[in-house]
Amino acid sequence: MVKINGTEQDIAGKTVAELLEAEGYDLLKVAVELNEMILPKAQYGSTALKDGDTVEVVSFVGGG
């Protein structure tokens, strides 16, 4: 299982890019932390999720 924003999901093997697309995120408005480290955008497509990973997707909204 992979923990996505606090919820366990059975998605090991999928890439981060596939996860973000399936969840409907706007890639221009997110930052992704994989196991508490920033994941560079260039690595979204090549990073496959493994059981035990913790992913935090921060999706920014406008306003400041």
């Binding site: 221009l28 920033i38 920014f60 909204v61 406008g62 306003g63 400041g64």
Partner: protein, 212 residues
């Protein structure tokens, strides 16, 4: 009326905050990126607390649409925000060295312009620009601490605005969801709540407290 000196203000800050804590604030170098409702309030809070080095960055000018929530005066309409807020900060923050950069931050200039800051505040308006700054700082300046804001529009309960530690050096304030593009937009007090979360987080970090 006698003009206040830096030394007199520093003594007053030490009397209020304690000398040990004030020395930590005075040693801090903080960059505020974006000088709208978040950034103008954050920078003023840091100057009042006596943070030693405050770098303010924005490319924009003061507009009438800013006056509902941003710390500018009608007489400053049309001025660059870096000039207008710089004037205010230099009046408040005699103990703060103020550096201003009137420039649009990009992935190319961020590593240069933010290299001297210990802590970086993301205070942009647009979601894509927030993401750009956060990704660039965390990827290219991994030794910096970043305090970002997302979700402070509308008139929802202020109690939904909170600060979370997302990663070792990444703190995020806001309710996470209220977008400025819908509803009544950005309102002074609620934006200030988020700004105060970010500024308090910065001051806690300078004091050595790493929990949000």
């Amino acid at each position: 009326m006698t003009a206040l000196t830096k030394e007199a203000l520093y003594a007053a800050l030490c009397a209020r905050h304690g000398e040990e804590l004030q020395q930590k604030f005075a040693a801090g170098a903080v960059a505020v990126c974006g000088l709208g409702g978040l950034g103008s309030n954050i920078a003023i809070a840091l100057a009042r607390a006596g943070v030693g080095h405050i770098r303010i960055i924005d490319f924009d000018r003061v507009d009438i649409s800013n006056l509902n929530r941003q710390q500018y005066f009608p007489a400053q309409l049309g001025m660059y925000k870096t000039d207008a807020l710089g004037d205010t900060l230099r009046e408040i923050g005699l103990c703060s060295e103020i550096t201003a950069d009137c420039v649009r931050l990009t992935p190319e200039n961020i590593p240069v312009l933010l290299k001297d800051a210990d802590i970086i505040c993301e205070a942009f308006d647009r979601a894509d620009q927030k993401a750009m700054l956060v990704n660039t700082v965390l990827e290219q300046l991994p030794d910096k601490i970043l305090v970002s804001g997302s979700g402070m529009a509308g008139l929802g309960s202020p109690n939904t605005i909170r600060t979370r530690k997302i990663a070792k050096n990444f703190y995020l304030s806001g309710d996470g969801e209220s977008d400025s593009g819908s509803g009544p937009g950005l309102i002074s007090a609620r934006v200030a709540v988020c700004a105060a979360h970010q500024a308090t987080t910065v001051l806690r970090l300078l004091a050595g407290e790493t929990e949000p």
